[in-house]
Structure formats: structure tokens, C-alpha cells
Symmetry: C2
Subunit: 342 residues, 2 copies
DNA sequence: AAAATCAGCACAACCGGTTGTCTTATTATT
DNA sequence: AATAATAAGACAACCGGTTGTGCTGATTTT
């Protein structure tokens, strides 16, 4: 049997005093005499006493746990979110429970369940690629566990979320390309059910209008973000009779696959075709032909802000009237980052 | 005030029965009558009753939490470890607490403290680059919290750990280069205090001996794994009068910085110099001139094995005699992966 | 018919702390 | 000297479950 940890009861017994006295002595309560306080402190350190937070949290109906669910960590974008979340959470004495949905709705549900069972004080979620049903999120609402969605937002009413406003980034991207002389600009978008895809799509159209370019449906395609999907999308655009001279991609990984495809097809990057991506991943700095520009989406900051928002909601819930709920939405501005000498 | 969750007491009151009856009814105990069981089940689902695991864990002296501390997630290597850990942990009903030390000893200590306070059932740790003091790990031992170290192992006696045996990988790497005609093979190693660096170092010497090549001290250097460190190390080796025709690097990121440096210096990759790395990161597939081979260290499997080991220790501790502790060490074999057509 | 068996449930202790109230001895007040 | 005030600490309830034991009435056994 695991040797039991030292409790205040052990201390109380050894000193022949009551456990409430020990408790108060340790928290320096005024109604305990100095002599007793010192004896308790002495014995506590001798016995290596460590309070069991769970007993306290249990009574406080708190856990100081925040659940974070992301599709994956292999994408540096999400890893940055973790860092942002972690930095704020630790600072405010919360600890992070992590789960990866692997873009699988069932897994996402199971993780939500588990974290709910662990009675997290709140959750941060970036939904999976395949999530269409939202019952598991409603379950959290029922259980009064606040959720702030990050970057990948479900299409629900009355939710808290934080994301990066992509419209301005997309407009900057298109204008940048136009200024460099491009007239046929393609778009490889992400899955159609992503709000982030829809936003890119409408911003793309808006940007074209703004630059007096007539949009062409053939120049717009989607990828499921797998390598095969990315390659297929690239193939489709590059096979067009009216082939684009520039392509804007959903993120850097799509761009990398597209660039790879071009190289295999002997299509010269930056000569025959230019790429602009989203995400601005650092790893691209090592590429010989990275996208010439990329829209920064500030994942670290999104993580920070989301966590601040969540903790505020958690701590407000204790005091405030539940009836009149308000929902917090925050959009950061994205920003086009032009790489190197382009 | 947050609306209290439904408890068995609420159910008991409404049905005018005792709470123990409710508890047993819900767990289908034989001494409860069918009629009562059904009434309880009915009301429980009506009220949306959800048991509070914490009360149960509390009594069981368990949390089903596993703490995982890694230096960082920006390195895909560690992200893979997370996935391995997560997959095994979730399957065995444990949940993951995550912390990044950012290669800062103080931060590592604080995270250990926090996780200890949350009474994790066990911890998985990959130590930070700068960790030299081990008091915080001894603290865990004192608190009877088992720890399994992963990949980055402290130099302590009597610890559980899992790592990847690098010797064979290094020997394969050197032999591979020799077979390709290289005679002057440099080594950019990691920080000297890493056991992983020491292992690479001695394996490198052993491999040279095996291939009848006389080692030369000048061909061996270390990097602190920052970009500047990597570049400085590259510079040092490439400035040698007897310049190496091949360099083995501590990991892929070092190789990328070295390759980048070569390109800027107009040293032709794969012609003037070849690189072999450790880690076999997937992102390198997108490079024009990735290392021609890389030693796979199986981070996902390390994560899995470490978690299996930890859970076994946790669950064994309950029943076994504590006096005769044994320590588990597991080494996976590394494996040289030759890229593409080389 | 009295004793034994058993189903079905209530009571209370426990996990490890916190906190409100009550008790007792000492000191201060009038 | 009698009373009030105060210091120091004991007692018990509570958080939300689980579990060992005891009690009650009905059925079975002899």
C-alpha cells in the first residue's frame, strides 16, 4: 500500500490538539496562540506535511484546471496556441489539461467527456476538421462549464470565441500580388465547413473587387488539408488553360505541398508562379522557395487572449447573475508578412 | 453563485431515501430493490445527474492525472512524444497535464511544484537544457509520486527512464557516410551536459574506430541548439583547413541551420558537403537539400512506452511492498533512415 | 408457532481539509 | 467581588461520494 501522506490529523494527534487548530495554525489564524502555531509549524516541516489541494478545491467547488482541446500539435500553429494558453494559465494559477482530437469528432467528444468528468473549471477548444455535431459542446453548457473557442469556431449562436480576422490579411495579400503585376490569382482554400474558409473566401472576392479583378470560379478550389488533398488542389489549378500566376493557400502546409508539386512538374517557383500563404510558419525560413508572403495569424496571442477571457468568465461566474449571460467575441487583426527580399 | 450541480443527496431527498441507497442503486448493487433502482435511475436522468469524480478519486487517493513536462512543443520531436503519451494515457483512463519548461530550470521546478500540488498520480519528464539541480525531482520521490524520464534523462541514480539507444544509429550513420566515400566526418553535438550528447560522442568515436578512421578533436564541436549556436558550430567546422566532407548533427534543426549557413557561404550541399542528422523530422521532406539521412529516434513510441511504464508503476505501487524498489530502464533501438535517392 | 433467513434499506464513518459555533480559563472592568 | 470581555482552542458540520454494519418486516424453515 502506498504510504499515506501526512495530514493535519496526524499532526493534531501527535500534538494532542484538534485538527481545526492545526488548520488555523497553519493559515496563521489570529485565534491560535503563538506557542501552538510554532509547535505546529515545527512538526509540519519535520513530517514534510503538504496540504492536499484537492480537499480544498473540492470544498471550493473548483479545480483550477483548464481543458485545452486542439486538433493536433504537429502543426506549429497549434503548438504556439498552447504556449500562449500555458503562459497565461500558469500565471493565474491554473493548470492545463491537454487533448488532441486528431481532427476526429468522436475523439473530440470523448475528450470533452473526460475533461468534464475531471470537473475542469473551463475549456478552450479549437474544433476538429470533421466536427459537425455540437451536442458535446451543449453538454458543457448544461454542466455550466464555460468554453472559449479558439481560431476554429463552430457555427453556433451564443458562444465565446477568439479568432484572427482574416479579411484584412487577405486583402493585403491580394493587393500585394496585384502590385507585383499578378492578374490571375488562384485560391486553395480549406474545408468548406470551416468558418475560417468562408472568411477567406469572401475576403478573397472582396479583395479582387477592390483591385478591379473579375473573379473566376475555376481559380478557387478547396483542400481537406491532407497531403493528397493539397496536391490534388494544386494540380487542378495548375492544369487550367488560364493558369494562375499566383496562388494564395489556406496555410503554409498547403503551400509547401503545392510548391513541392510544382517542382516535380518543373513549374518554376517565383518565376512561373508565386505563392502567398497563411500562418507564417517559421520553418519556411529554411526553404529555398517559401511563399513570398504569409498572413500572420498570431496564434500565441490568440492563446493568451482566449485564456484571459476564459478565466475572467470563470471568476465572474461566481459572483454574477447567471440569467443575463453575455458572450465575448474577440477578433485580432491578421497581418501580411512579406518574406525576405520580395 | 454558480448553480450547484445535482448530487446524490438531492436525489435522495426527493425520493425520501438515504443517499447510500441512491449510490448503491446507481451502481446496481444487489441489495437494492428493482423498484427503487428504477425510480433512482429515472430521477437521476431527469435531473441530469453527473457523479463528481473528484469525490471518488479523493477517497481512492487517486486523480487519474499524469503530468507531462517537456522543454517545448515547437520541436516536432516533442509533439510526437505528446501524442504517444496521450494515446496510451487516454486508453487507460488517465488524463494529461501539460507543462513546457522552455528549457528553463526555474520554470521546470515551478511546474513540478504545481503538478505535485494537483496530486498527479505520476509524472513524465524530459528535462530542460539547463537543468543541473535535481532537488525538485527528489521532492517528487519524497511525495511518492513516481516519475519516468523520457529521452532527456538526468544523471541520477535510481530512476525510471526510457530513451532511444543512439549508438547503433550513430554507427550506421558513420558507416553509411564512409561507404559513400567520406573520410573526414565532423560532428556538431548538443550541450555537453546532455546524456544524449555524451552518447552520441562516444558512439561517434566508436564508429570511427570501427571504420578505421582516426578521430580528430577539431572535427567535433558542440552547439547550445540555438540558431546562433548552430551557426557558430557550423562556421567552426567549415573553416577548418582540413574541412569535413560530411557532418553529423545533433538533430534536424541543427542541420537546417548548418545547411542554411553553407548556402549563404556558397558551399554546395551534397557536393562539397553532406549532412546526416538525428530525429528524422518530416518537415525536411520539403527541403531542397535535406540531410541525406537521419537517425530516427521514435519519439511517439518513446511516449507510449514511457506511459505504459509509468501506469504500471502507479498501479503496482498500490499493492506492492515499497521497500524493495526496482527501477525500470528501457532503451529503444534507433534506426538510420536514408532519404530519397541517396 | 417460534426461530432462522433474507431482502431492502437506513445510519454512520471516511477521505482531508475549512469554517462557524461553543467552551473554558484567564484577564479586565465596574 | 461579581461580571464582562477576551484569548485559545475544542467540537462538529460540510464538500459528494463509497462502504461496512445494523435494523426492520416478510418469508421460509423446523
Amino acid at each position: 500500500m502506498t504510504p499515506r501522506k501526512v495530514t493535519i490529523i496526524d499532526i493534531a494527534k501527535q500534538l494532542n490538539i484538534s485538527k481545526s487548530t492545526v488548520s488555523r495554525a497553519l493559515s496563521n489564524h489570529h485565534s491560535i496562540g503563538l506557542r501552538t502555531k510554532m509547535r505546529v509549524a515545527q512538526l509540519a516541516s519535520e513530517l514534510n506535511y503538504e496540504p492536499d489541494n484537492r480537499a480544498i478545491f473540492f470544498k471550493q467547488r473548483k479545480t483550477y484546471l483548464i481543458g485545452l482541446i486542439l486538433p493536433s500539435l504537429s502543426n506549429t500553429f497549434f503548438a504556439s496556441i498552447v504556449s500562449g494558453v500555458e503562459d497565461v494559465a500558469y500565471q493565474k494559477k491554473y493548470t492545463l489539461l491537454l487533448g488532441q482530437s486528431r481532427d476526429d469528432q468522436e475523439r473530440e467528444k470523448r475528450i470533452v467527456e473526460t475533461m468534464k468528468d475531471h470537473r475542469v473549471d473551463g475549456m478552450l477548444i479549437s474544433i476538429s476538421k470533421n466536427t459537425t455535431g455540437y451536442e458535446h459542446f451543449k453538454l458543457l453548457e448544461k454542466n455550466n462549464i464555460p468554453v472559449v473557442f479558439i481560431d476554429r469556431i463552430p457555427e453556433m449562436k451564443n458562444i465565446h470565441f477568439i479568432a484572427c480576422k482574416l479579411e484584412n490579411g487577405m486583402i493585403e495579400a491580394v493587393s500585394f500580388l496585384v502590385k507585383k503585376g499578378h492578374k490571375i490569382i488562384g485560391l486553395i482554400n480549406g474545408p468548406e465547413n470551416f468558418s475560417a474558409s468562408k472568411e477567406r473566401y469572401s475576403a478573397y472576392l472582396k479583395a479582387l473587387r477592390k483591385n478591379k479583378i473579375k473573379p473566376c470560379k475555376k481559380l478557387i478550389t478547396c483542400s481537406d488539408l491532407t497531403i493528397d488533398g493539397n496536391v490534388a488542389a494544386s494540380k487542378k489549378l495548375l492544369a487550367l488553360a488560364r493558369r494562375p500566376t499566383a496562388i494564395i493557400t489556406f496555410n503554409d502546409y498547403v503551400a509547401l505541398d503545392a510548391i513541392d508539386y510544382c517542382k516535380r512538374q518543373k513549374i518554376k517557383i517565383d518565376t512561373d508562379i508565386s505563392f502567398v500563404s497563411f500562418a507564417n510558419e517559421a520553418i519556411c525560413n529554411y526553404m529555398d522557395h517559401p511563399p513570398i508572403a504569409s498572413v500572420e495569424q498570431f496564434p500565441y496571442q490568440q492563446g493568451q487572449k482566449a485564456t484571459e477571457m476564459l478565466i475572467e468568465i470563470i471568476e465572474k461566474a461566481k459572483t454574477e447573475n447567471e440569467n443575463r449571460k453575455t458572450f465575448n467575441n474577440l477578433l485580432l487583426q491578421s497581418q501580411l508578412v512579406i518574406r525576405g527580399t520580395h
